[in-house]
C-alpha cells in the first residue's frame, strides 16, 4: 500500500531518521491503525536504515505495540495476582462466552480482540480491564458483559 509508505515517510520527516525516532514513529502508527503489520515495519526499517528484524524486535518487546492484526477494540484483562484473587477468571469466562473467542483471538467482525495483561496498577479496584485506553474497574461477570455490549454498536 503506497499509503503506508507515504505515511512512514511523513513520520520520518517529523521525527528524524535516527534510531531514536523508531519508538515515536511506531507509536503514531499504532494510534492510527492499532497494529503495525510487516509492510509498515519494512517501511519504517527502510526509512531509518535499520534491518526489518531490528524493528520487529523492538515492536514485539512492547505489549502495546501489536504486530498482528487486532480488532477495533482491544480488551486487556489484568491477569496478575490481585485481580486473579478478586475473581478475574469468572470475568474472563463471561467475556469469552459473550464474544465467542478465547484469549489471543479476534472476533470474526474484527471488532474485538481479547488479551490478558500484566498489572495495570488498579489492584485496589480489581478485577480490572482496559478497552483500548479506557480503564474499567471492580468488574463482575455481569458488569463486564454490560460494558462490552456498550461497545458493540460503536
Amino acid at each position: 500500500m503506497a499509503n503506508t509508505e507515504m505515511r512512514v515517510k511523513e513520520l520520518a520527516e517529523k521525527y528524524g531518521r535516527n534510531r531514536e525516532a523508531l519508538m515515536p514513529i511506531l507509536q503514531e502508527l499504532i494510534d492510527e491503525r492499532r497494529y503495525v503489520n510487516d509492510e509498515a515495519m519494512v517501511n519504517v526499517a527502510r526509512e531509518l536504515d535499520l534491518s526489518a528484524a531490528e524493528v520487529y524486535g523492538t515492536a514485539s518487546f512492547y505489549s502495546f505495540i501489536e504486530t498482528e492484526e487486532v480488532g477495533k477494540f482491544v480488551i486487556r484483562l489484568c491477569k496478575t495476582i490481585v485481580c486473579d484473587m478478586k475473581g478475574k477468571e469468572d470475568v474472563l469466562q463471561a467475556i469469552e462466552n459473550t464474544l465467542k473467542i478465547k484469549v489471543g483471538q479476534t472476533t470474526a467482525d474484527k471488532k474485538f480482540t481479547l488479551k490478558t495483561t500484566n498489572c495495570l496498577g488498579w489492584c485496589h479496584k480489581g478485577p480490572t480491564m482496559l478497552i483500548n485506553d479506557e480503564v474499567y474497574t471492580e468488574l463482575t461477570p455481569g458488569k463486564a458483559i454490560e460494558i462490552i455490549e456498550s461497545y458493540m454498536n460503536k
Binding site: S51, A52, A53, S60
Partner: protein
C-alpha cells in the same frame, strides 16, 4: 599516558588503565573469570551474569565484564557468595536449555557445557522448563541451523550480525521469559537478509547456531565405489585446521591436510588455490578490459570501480543491500565455483570419467559457500558444480572419526592437475590477498615488470584495518597498454560487512573514487570465515594471516600468471581469459534481492 587505577583481585594488587573492566584486570593477573555473553570482538552486553564477582563493601555482586575498575577496589572472584551465585546462574540457564548434550552437534565444543562441567551442576534444583517452551529449530538454510532450544539469549549472534556485519538478520524479540532471538517475524533464515556468513556460528557459546553439516553425505560418496570423489581445499583451511587437531593458532598444516584427505578416501586431492590463480587471470583481464572501455572507448556501460566477487557472503549482502551497485561486481565466479565447473568438464574429460559419476566436495572456511553451491546459477557443467561443502570444522570431525593421528602424519603434495598453485592463490585467504594477487599479475601484464614492492609483498593492502586504501602508479607501459601510461591505479579493501557497507555507501554517494575494490564478508578475510575453528578473536586471526603470508613466501611461484597448470588449461581448454568457454564456465550473473 593513560591514568592507572590500582585495585586488588583476590588480595593480589594490580594496576590497569582507567576504563578497563574488572574482567580485563583479572586477565592481567591470569585469573580466569568465566564468561558467556562476553566476546573479544563485540561490545559489552552484561546479560548472562556468570562473570559476577564480589566487591568488598558492596552488597550486590557485579558483572566483571561490564564494571569498570575504580581506585582501591577490592574484588573477590571466588568467594563463597560468588561461587554460590554463579552456580545458581548456570543452573537457571540450564533450566531453560535443552541439555541433550550427547545428541548435540556442539558436544565437546560448548562453553555452557564446559561451565556446567566445571561447576558440577548435576543436582539441578530448578524445574526443567524446556518441555513447556515450544522451542523451534530452523533448518531452512543450506548453511546454518538455528535451534532455539539451545539458546541462552546471550545475544552474541545479535551483536555479531549488527556490529561486525551490519546485517541484523537476527534481533532480540519479545521480552521477559518469552524473549527470543528472532529474524523478522520469525521467518525462516533462508527467506531473510541473512548472508550465511556464519560469523554468528563462530561466536555462539552453545549449539544454538551451527553449520548445516554434510559429513554423512560425504562419507556416503566416499564409500560408494561407483563415484569418483574429488576434493578441493580453500587457502584459509590450511592455516586453521591445525587448531582443531592439537596445534596452536598459526600452524601451517598444508601437507598433513593433503595426507589426511587421501587417507579419508578421496579419489583426488586438489587445490582451490589453482582456481584462485585462474580467478586472477579472468578478473585481472576483466579489470583491464573495463579500464580500457572507460578510459579509451568512453563506454559508460562499464562500471568502475570493479568489485571482487569471491566471497559469497558479500555477494548475497550486495544483492540485498546495494542492488543498484551489482554492475560493479566482477562477473567471475568464486574460485570454489570455478573449480566445481572445471571438475565436471575439463577434469572429467582429461581423466575420462563421466561427469555424472563425479562427486565434487570442497573444504571451505566458510558457511556461505554451502549456499553458493546450491545457487541455480552454479550448474554450468550441466550438473550441480559443487556437490557438498564442508567447513574446516567438519573436516576436523571427519579426520577424528577416521582415527587419523593428524599431528603424526607425513606431509604430502596435492594431486595434479588442478593441484598446482602460486603464492598469489594462497593469499586469497587473507583480507587484501585478492587485491595483492591481482596487482602482481595486472601490473606485470601491463608493464612487463614486477610490481614495485619489495619481494612482491604489497604491504599497504595487508593488515587488519577495516578499510584499507592503496595507490599504484603505472609507468613505462607496454605499447598495447599505452592508455594506462601515467595512470595511478586506486584500490580499496574492506573486510567484515559493516566495513563493506561503509565503503559502499561512500562509493554510491560519490565521495570516494577507486578503480578496484576487494570485499571479504568476514573479519580478516576467509581466514576469519564462519566455517573456521572456534574460538576466534583478533589475535588468532592475526596468527592465521602471518601463516598465510609465510606460506606465500615459501612457494616457488608467487604470481598467478606463472602457474604452469593455469597456462596449460588456457592452452588445452579455455583458450584465453574471457574466452567463450571461460564465459560459459567461469563467469556468472547476480540477482537483485530485497533488503526488506
Amino acid at each position: 599516558m593513560a591514568n592507572m587505577i590500582n585495585l586488588t583481585i583476590n588480595n593480589i594488587p594490580v594496576s590497569v588503565e582507567e576504563g578497563s573492566t574488572i574482567l580485563e584486570a583479572a586477565r592481567k593477573l591470569s585469573i580466569r573469570i568465566p564468561t558467556l555473553c562476553n566476546h573479544d570482538d563485540l561490545c559489552v552486553a552484561g546479560n548472562c551474569r556468570v562473570c559476577v564477582v564480589e566487591q568488598i563493601g558492596n552488597r550486590t555482586l557485579q558483572a566483571a565484564c561490564a564494571t569498570p575498575v575504580r581506585e582501591n577496589m577490592q574484588i573477590l572472584t571466588n568467594s563463597m557468595m560468588v561461587m554460590q551465585a554463579r552456580k545458581t546462574i548456570i543452573e537457571l540457564l540450564l533450566s531453560e536449555h535443552n541439555a541433550d548434550c550427547t545428541k548435540c552437534y556442539k558436544n565437546g565444543n560448548c562453553e555452557l557445557q564446559d561451565l556446567s562441567n566445571e561447576y558440577r551442576t548435576g543436582n539441578q534444583i530448578y524445574i526443567d522448563l524446556v518441555p513447556s517452551k515450544h522451542y523451534t529449530i530452523d533448518q531452512s538454510s543450506p548453511s546454518l541451523i538455528k535451534d532455539d532450544s539451545k539458546c541462552i539469549r546471550c545475544q552474541r549472534c545479535v551483536r555479531t550480525c549488527s556490529e561486525l556485519q551490519a546485517v541484523s538478520a537476527l534481533s532480540a524479540a519479545y521480552k521477559g521469559a518469552g524473549m527470543k532471538i528472532s529474524s523478522f517475524y520469525d521467518r525462516p533464515m533462508h527467506e531473510v537478509v541473512c548472508t550465511n556468513c556464519g560469523q554468528c556460528i563462530n561466536r555462539c557459546p552453545t549449539g544454538a547456531l551451527t553449520e548445516r553439516n554434510y559429513i554423512d553425505e560425504v562419507w556416503n560418496a566416499i564409500y560408494d565405489p561407483t563415484k569418483h570423489v574429488v576434493v578441493q581445499t580453500a587457502p584459509a583451511v590450511r592455516v586453521a585446521l591445525g587448531e582443531e587437531l592439537g596445534y596452536d593458532p598459526g600452524a601451517r598444516v598444508t601437507g598433513k591436510l593433503v595426507t589426511a584427505l587421501r587417507r579419508l578416501g578421496f579419489d583426488s586431492v586438489l587445490d582451490t588455490d589453482f582456481t584462485a590463480d585462474l580467478t586472477i587471470m579472468e578478473e585481472g583481464t576483466e579489470l583491464l578490459t573495463r579500464l580500457k572501455k572507460v578510459l579509451v572507448d568512453k563506454d559508460t556501460s562499464a562500471a568502475l570501480p570493479m568489485f571482487t566477487s569471491c566471497s559469497p557472503g558479500w555477494i548475497k549482502f550486495i544483492e540485498h543491500t546495494f542492488p543498484e551497485l551489482l554492475p560493479h561486481l566482477s562477473t567471475c565466479k568464486s574460485p570454489q565455483q570455478m573449480f566445481g565447473a572445471l571438475a565436471k568438464t575439463y577434469y572429467a574429460q582429461k581423466k575420462g570419467i563421466n561427469p555424472k559419476d563425479i562427486v565434487s566436495v570442497s573444504i571451505m572456511p566458510c558457511t556461505a559457500k554451502k549456499f553458493e553451491a546450491t545457487r541455480p546459477e552454479m550448474r554450468d557443467s550441466g550438473f550441480q558444480d559443487v556437490d557438498y561443502v564442508l567447513t574446516t570444522r567438519e573436516l576436523a570431525i571427519m579426520i577424528k572419526q577416521a582415527g587419523i593421528e593428524f599431528m603424526k602424519l607425513d606431509d604430502e603434495d596435492y594431486d595434479r592437475f588442478m593441484g598446482e598453485s602460486s603464492g598469489a592463490g594462497v593469499i586469497f585467504g587473507a583480507t587484501g590477498g585478492v587485491m595483492e594477487a591481482a596487482l602482481r599479475t595486472a601490473y606485470e601484464i601491463v608493464t612487463g615488470r614486477e610490481v614495485p614492492f619489495g619481494n612482491l609483498n604489497i604491504t599497504p593492502v595487508r593488515g587488519m584495518e577495516g578499510i584499507k586504501e592503496a595507490e599504484v602508479k603505472i609507468e613505462n607501459v607496454k605499447p598495447e597498454w599505452s592508455f594506462l601510461e601515467g595512470v595511478t591505479l586506486k584500490v580499496a579493501i574492506a573486510h567484515g560487512l559493516a566495513n563493506a557497507k561503509r565503503l559502499m555507501t561512500a562509493i554510491r554517494d560519490g565521495k570516494v573514487q577507486y578503480h578496484f575494490v576487494e570485499i571479504m564478508a568476514c573479519p580478516g578475510g576467509c581466514l576469519g570465515g564462519g566455517g573456521q575453528p572456534i574460538p576466534t578473536n583478533l589475535e588468532i586471526r592475526k596468527k592465521r594471516a602471518e601463516a598465510i603470508y609465510a606460506e606465500d613466501e615459501n612457494l616457488p611461484i608467487r604470481k598467478s600468471h606463472e602457474n604452469p597448470e593455469v597456462l596449460q588449461i588456457y592452452q588445452e581448454f579455455l583458450g584465453e581469459p574471457l574466452s567463450h568457454t571461460s564465459h560459459e564456465l567461469l563467469h556468472t550473473h547476480y540477482v537483485p534481492r530485497k533488503r526488506y
